[in-house]
Every structure is written in C-alpha cells, then in structure tokens.
C-alpha cells in the first residue's frame, strides 16, 4: 500500500515531463495508475482477504510518528470509488481537456490530488491523516484555480482553500486533543477508547473540532458556500471532486469516527440537525439554480447532508443506508457532471434556460445518459438510486427520535430531487429556448459517463453484488453491524409509499413552477448568508491587518524604542521584585570624597546635557561625562579602559562637532505630556538598573576566570597585561569578529559617502 501510494506521487512529479513526450495521450497513460489500484483493491476484495490489513513504517516512536496505512472495509469502499471514478475521470479528461493549455500542470495536480485522497482514506496515523488532509485542500485549491486568468476562479480557489484549511486546523486540534485524552495516535486503535472519550470532559471540544473539519470539507451548512463557487474548476475536476473525492472526505471522517466518537446524543443531534438543514437547503437552492453546474453543486451539498444525517443517526439501517448512498451518489453525480461538461462544450452555455430547442433530437445519446443518471438521482426504480432511497426512507422511519421531523425533511429533499429530475431531462432537453448551434466533439467523451450511468443501472438491477462490500464497510462503522443484503424490491412498505408520494409531489412542483413564476422573497436574509459573512470576515481581516500595521508600525523611532523599553521594564521589573527583591551591600558604602565629587560632576554634566537647548553645550557637557567616566575607570584599576574611553569620547565629540553645522540649528522640544511620560519611563529604567546592580553586588563574585587568567596569561600566553592577553590570545576569535563588525560599519559609511558623490555627478 505504501509503495502504491508513493508511486502515485512519484508519477505525479513525472507528469510534466511525460506530457511533453506523449502530448494529449497523457490522460490515458495516467489512467493506468488508478485502474491498477482499482484492480488491486478489487482483487483483495474478491479474494476474501481477511481485513484489516495494516502496513506501517515507523519514523519516530517517541512522538508517535509513523507512516501507517490501514485497509478495512470502509477504506476499501472509498479506495475503490476514488480509483474507479478516477480512472473514468482521466478517460473523460483526455477528451475534455484535449489541446487545452497547461495540461501538464493540470494532470500533475490531478494525480497529486488522487494520491492525497487515497492516502487520506488509507492513513492510520494522526499525522499522516492531517498531512493528506491538507494535501487535498492544497491540490484542490490549485485545481479550482486552474483557470487562473479568471478572477472568479481565483476567488473560488481562495475561498475553498480558506474554508477547508480552517477545517484542517480544527482537525489538528481535534486529533491532538484525542491524543491527549487517550495517548493513542493510531486511528484504528482509537475505537477501543470509545468509552473514555465519550465520557471525558474534553469530549464536546473534540467532537466539535472533528465535526467542523468534516463540515468544511463536505460543504455542510454553514460552510457550504465554497462548493458552488468551486465550479470554476474545469468540469472533470468538478465531477471528481463532487462525486467520489474531496467532499466525500468529510463523510469518510464521520464514518471513520462513528465508532470512536459516535453513539452519543450530542453526536446524533449535531450531525443529524446540520445534515438535515443542509440537505433541505441544498435541494431548494439546486431547484432555483439555472446554471447546470451550480444546480449539480447544490444537489451535491444536499446529498452530502443526507449522508451526514445518516451517520449522525447511527442506527444500523442508517449506517447501511449511508454507505449504499455513497456509492449511488458517486455514480450518478459523476455522470451528471461529465454530461454537464459535454453539454457545455456542445451548446456553449451552462445555463439551462439558454439551451437550444429540442435538444433531445440533436443529442440523443446525451439525453439517454442524462436520463439514466437523473432517474437514479431521483430514486426511481430500477436504478441504484432507488435502492439507496428506499434504505434512507426506512432509516428515517425507524430513527431513534423525532421520527416525524426526519421523515418530513427526507420527504422534502426527495420531492425536490424528483423535481430536479424533470429540470435535468424535460426542461433541458425538451423546452429549449434558442436556435440550435452545436459544436461537434469526439464521441469518445461519452464513454466515461456512459460507463458510470450503466453501472448505476446494473447495480440497481442486481444490488446484491454490492452486499458484501457495503456490509463490510458498515461493520467497520458500527461494530455491532450484522451483514445485510441489498435488494431492489422490498415490497409495498411505508418507504415505498413515501417514495411514490415524493415522485408525485416532485412532478407537480416542477410543472407548477413552469406555469407560475413564483419567487421566494428572501432578500432580507442576504446579509446573513454564510458567503456574505465569509466576505465580511475576509475583508475585515485585511482591514484589521492594515489598521494594526499602521498602529504598530508607526514609523517613529521613539515609539518603537518606547515599546521596547516598556516591555523590558515591565518584564525585568516583575522578575526582579518577584525573585530577588531589594538588597544593598553595606560594605560597598565606603566612598572617598574624591569619588563623591566625580559623581557630582557627572550628575551636573548630565543634567546640563538633558536640559540645555544648545547643541554645542549639550555636546560639551557630554564630553565632561565621558572624561569623568574614564577617570572612574582609571581609579578602579582599568587603565586600558580609561585610555580607550578617553580617545573614543574625544573622537565621537569630534565627529559630532564636525557634522553639527549641517544639522538644523533649532532644537525640537518635547511636548509637555511627552516630557512627563518619558520622564517616568526614564526614571523607572534608571531606578531598576540601580536596584539590579545593588542586588548583583550584594554577594562577592566568585570568578574562576579571574584566577585562570592570572595563572595562565604570563605562563601560557607570555603577556603581563591580562586584558590584552584575553583580547589577542585567549578570546582572539571574538576579537576577530568584533573587528569585522568595525570594518563593516566603516564600509557602510564609505558606501553612504560615495552614494551622494555619485548622485552629484549625475
């Protein structure tokens, strides 16, 4: 498993090169990858291999990091869907994207996406799950934004990325919290901790995090808005994203986490209510949509809502129904999307209201395929959709609580699905609004949708072939699950009657809507739409960022200095008073008169420097301070320092005086408020420094370095001046670094001086 997924990624990297060699044939070549994975998985399935199979490659056991893959019924089901539909998508894309620009890039990302998706459903370690999760987000970002010259595509790509990345963050938090609670980082072992998790105080946060992650990926309310915009992607991508991959990742998560987090009242309420809202909303919005891709996108949202609700309810029937519906949905939705792409290519429009007159005559094959898929979509016998729908209705009829509400919700959704059947067949192919002007395309493009549509029919007629697979998958979702058999005909039961009602109601709604042009007046809700809130937040974030930058990056040096100083002052001051406190060494109080006088001179000179309004006198008093300090150095046994300090003081003042006449004569004064504020900061800093020094000198210093240098400076380094010996021998590397700094500073000055000179020449 590790090798096969790795090989998909390696293949993806090679795609651009292969594309140069093979040109348009690249798609068929690449389709070999998913089909071989499909066959391999299928072989596992048929051969009666005992599941689960686990492969792992440990990386760092201390951090519980390993690359582990885990194949059980659930991942097998998803793996088969991803690779099977993926194969057909490649075939379809080969025709659809023929001679399109940037095909190398497109197929590379598509392959990467497929690899990430396979990795996601097979991964067993929390970190690999997260990595694959984010990989699908990023690759789908690139796929949605493939037509990057269009602004709408870029916007949609951003939106998709931000929403799903938000989910990714939630997932990270959720997985880390789970890890903290259970100390288990292997997903397949987590279900052993079901009781611990569901009774833990962190259960609600974990549940919310995992649910938000899955909601964003599976476009559940209120995160649904990115999916319709994701239509900006090329149609093969939409077909793949919507039917078997991206959006199913969230559903996969609900399924995977059902035995870990499920079975509680919170899980049921959260998932089934959000799923219920999403499915009704999606169905209604789909009915209102005119753009065929948008219509399908909203219907996808609705279908995902159904699945979320099924896994939320969590009864045996519900889980079985959800699993079956995943397959049914993947088949009909990929067909419909591929057909939407074909119709778009041939008629030049995506809007149903602009389709040519009596299209069914012109494109009989397209009409037939759409019919096959749409009938399955609406849940009409003998298609596979019917089998799924019967199960779903049975699920709501036997739901553990509030049965009536679920039945009503499910009924409304099915009614609109039936109405959509008529939109997709009757309105699109019979009504017609324009003169036909059809482009010819290669008939091979029909292969892929025909295969998926016919598969739907075959599975509908012989549903029992899927019994094993779906039962196996369901048993991984709910441990108590006993295998069931799928059948087309369940007899005249309540579910069947409900199904009939929905067909009748759906047909009447559709034909009513053709006569009556009713519009829902929901304009007042517009500002509350999640997409509007997203826009508001997005713009708000940018505005906030600009405001914050303006506030923090004021451009005034003194503000930066002040903030830095205040932070140092507060942190150091707090630590100092908290840890050390005020201590004064009384032995250090012996002061000679002459030192006192030096101190007074410094004090007076400093005061003069501070408050004089003349630059020259400020400088002169500064030099007095410098001389006084060098005398202190001399006094305290540091003649080297004294000389250096004296020279440097002189040189600094020299430069200062030299450039002084270039500077403005007028000295700027502080404002009164600033004066008080700065005074406080200054006095605080000074006081703190003094107290710290008192505290430092409270105890005598026990320096071994001092003795070391006293012993070695003459015997080892042949020098009597210990300071100089340290500088040029013991710590010579430091000195080298320091003179390099000096050289750089001088070169900086050199560059500055020459800069103006050149300018003058110009």
């Amino acid at each position: 498993m590790i090798l096969s997924i790795l090989s998909v990624f390696i293949l993806a990297i090679l795609v651009p090169t292969l594309h140069k060699i093979t040109g348009n044939k690249i798609a068929y070549l690449l389709s070999l990858a998913p089909i071989s994975i499909f066959i391999a998985l299928f072989y596992y399935h048929l051969n009666g291999t005992t599941f689960p199979i686990r492969e792992s490659w440990e990386w760092n056991s201390y951090f519980n990091l390993e690359l582990a893959f885990y194949l059980d019924g659930l991942s097998l089901l998803f793996g088969l869907l991803i690779s099977g539909i993926g194969f057909l998508i490649y075939i379809y894309a080969g025709f659809y994207m023929k001679n399109a620009k940037y095909n190398g890039r497109f197929f590379m990302i598509l392959t990467l996406f497929m690899g990430a998706m396979l990795g996601l459903v097979l991964a067993d370690n929390w970190l690999s799950i997260l990595v694959f999760w984010e990989l699908t987000s990023i690759t789908s970002f690139l796929l949605i934004g493939h037509k990057n010259e269009k602004e709408s595509a870029r916007y949609a790509a951003w939106q998709g990325l931000l929403v799903t990345a938000l989910g990714g963050l939630a997932l990270l938090v959720g997985l880390v919290l789970t890890g903290i609670v259970t100390e288990e980082y292997t997903i397949s072992n987590l279900s052993q901790h079901h009781e611990l998790l569901t009774q833990h105080t962190l259960y609600i946060p974990i549940l919310l995090c995992v649910a938000v992650a899955a909601f964003t990926k599976s476009a559940q309310f209120p995160f649904h808005f990115w999916l319709p915009n994701a239509m900006a992607a090329p149609t093969p991508v939409s077909a793949y994203l919507h039917s078997a991959t991206m959006v199913k990742a969230g559903i996969y998560f609900f399924a995977r986490f059902s035995p870990i987090l499920g079975g509680t009242i919170e899980w049921q309420i959260l998932l089934s209510s959000i799923g219920g809202i999403t499915m009704i909303m999606g169905a209604i919005m789909a009915f209102k949509a005119d753009n065929i891709k948008k219509l399908l996108a909203y219907s996808t949202i609705s279908a995902l809502g159904i699945m979320t609700m099924a896994f939320g309810l969590g009864t045996e029937t519900a889980i079985f129904a959800g699993t079956v519906y995943i397959i049914a949905h993947a088949l009909y939705k990929s067909t419909l999307f591929m057909m939407a792409g074909i119709l778009d290519k041939q008629t030049g429009t995506k809007k149903i209201s602009e389709f040519p007159v009596s299209l069914y005559k012109k494109l009989p094959l397209a009409f037939a395929i759409v019919c096959l898929a749409a009938l399955s979509f609406a849940g009409i016998a003998p298609f596979f959709g019917f089998v799924a729908k019967e199960l779903l209705l049975e699920m709501v009829l036997h739901s553990p609580m509030l049965s009536a509400v679920y039945v009503a919700a499910m009924l409304i959704t099915s009614v609109f699905f039936v109405a959509l059947l008529f939109v997709l067949t009757h309105k699109a192919f019979f009504k017609g609004f324009k003169k036909p002007a059809l482009k010819n395309i290669h008939k091979g493009i029909y292969i892929a949708p025909a295969v998926t549509a016919l598969t739907g029919l075959v599975f509908g007629l012989f549903p029992d072939v899927l019994s094993n697979l779906t039962s196996l998958a369901s048993s991984n979702i709910s441990p108590e699950f006993e295998s069931k058999h799928l059948a087309l005909w369940h007899g005249f039961n309540n579910a069947f009657y409900l199904s009939l009602i929905s067909i009748l109601l759906g047909a009447s709604i559709y034909f009513l809507s053709l006569k009556v042009n009713w519009k829902l007046k929901l304009g007042f809700l517009k500002p509350l739409q999640p997409s509007k809130i997203y826009d508001f937040l997005f713009d708000g974030l940018i505005t906030f960022g600009q405001w914050q930058t303006r506030k923090i990056q004021t451009g005034y040096l003194r503000n930066y200095a002040m903030v830095t100083l205040l932070v140092i002052l507060v942190l150091t001051g707090f630590t100092f008073f908290y840890k050390a406190g005020i201590r004064i060494n009384t032995e250090s109080l012996d002061i000679y008169i002459f030192e006192l006088i030096l101190g007074l001179i410094v004090l007076i000179a400093l005061g003069f420097t501070l408050f004089t309004s003349s630059n020259i006198s400020a400088l002169l008093s500064l030099s007095v301070v410098g001389i006084a300090i060098s005398i202190i150095f001399m006094e305290a046994g540091a003649p080297d320092l004294a000389i250096t300090f004296f020279l440097i003081d002189a040189l600094t003042i020299t430069i200062f005086v030299l450039i002084l006449h270039k500077l403005p004569k007028k000295m700027l004064r502080k404002k009164n408020f600033d004066r008080i504020r700065d005074g406080f900061i200054a006095v605080g800093t000074g006081l703190l420094v003094t107290l710290i020094l008192f505290s430092i000198t409270y105890n005598p210093l026990n320096s071994k370095l001092k003795e070391f240098y006293a012993e070695n400076s003459y015997s080892a380094a042949k020098g009597k001046n210990m300071v100089n010996v340290i500088l040029v021998d013991f710590r010579v590397l430091d000195t080298l670094g320091e003179i390099c700094v000096l050289a750089i500073a001088a070169l900086g000055v050199f560059a500055l001086v020459n800069y103006t000179k050149n300018k003058k020449l110009d």
């Binding site: 005034y556 040096l557 200095a561 100083l565 060494n585 250090s588 002061i591 101190g599 410094v602 400093l606 420097t609 501070l610 400088l619 301070v625 410098g626 300090i629 202190i632 006094e635 305290a636 046994g637 003649p639 080297d640 320092l641 250096t644 300090f645 440097i648 430069i655 450039i659 500077l663 403005p664 700027l668 502080k670 600033d674 700065d678 200054a682 000074g686 006081l687 420094v689 003094t690 020094l693 000198t697 320096s703 001092k706 240098y709 006293a710 003459y714 001046n721 210990m722 300071v723 010996v725 500088l727 430091d734 320091e738 700094v741 000096l742 500073a745 000055v749 500055l752 001086v753 800069y755």
Partner: protein, 111 residues
C-alpha cells in the same frame, strides 16, 4: 564604591533613555552615546570594583594581590570600540538624511 557607581549607572541610563525618546536628532544620538557608556559601566560594576590594582602580572611573574577582574575589562574594551563604530555610523546616516530635500526633522522621514 559599588554603591555610588550603581547610582551613577542608574542616572546615566535614565538620562540616556530620556534622550533616546527625544524628537531631536542630536539629542537622540547623545542618548545613544550615553546608553552605550552606561552599559559599559554596568558591566564594569557587575564585575565588582577593585580600587587601584590593575590586572597586570608583576615583575616576579605573579599577579598583584586583589587585582581588578580582567574579563569585564576585555568585554568593555571591544564594546567601546564597536560602540564608537555604531555612533559614528548613526551620525553619518543622520547627516545624510538632512541632505534629502525637505527633511528637517526625524518625523519627516515617515512621509
């Protein structure tokens, strides 16, 4: 003597900080210079003060009794020279700033 010097270092820091927050170029640079001096003295005091006896080996090959610590001195010596480099660099940058037309306060640079 540490007592007196500690107060002195505090005063120097206070004055330096006050000037560092100034709107005027010259005062600002003076502030930088004073803070540099104060830091040198800070390290020096933290290394303890020993009056008179400098860290030199005597003729007999032994260090004098109770001599000053050479380590902070070595630190300060290079710090002072580097400080000079920085101060000179700052001054020349400021001088260049005034060569820009229409700039006569630090605040004008913001525009």
């Amino acid at each position: 003597m540490e007592f007196l010097l500690s107060i002195l270092v505090g005063l120097l820091f206070a004055a330096g900080v006050y000037l560092l927050l100034h709107r005027d170029f010259v005062k600002l640079v003076i502030g930088i210079v004073i803070i540099g001096n104060a830091t040198a003295l800070f390290i020096f005091v933290a290394g303890r003060i020993v009056r008179q006896n400098a860290p030199f080996i005597q003729e007999n090959g032994l260090p004098p009794e109770n001599f000053a610590d050479p380590v902070p001195q070595a630190l300060i010596l290079t710090a002072l020279v580097i400080g000079f480099g920085i101060q000179a660099f700052a001054l020349i940058v400021f001088k260049k700033v005034y060569d820009i037309p229409k700039v006569d306060k630090i605040d004008d640079l913001k525009k």
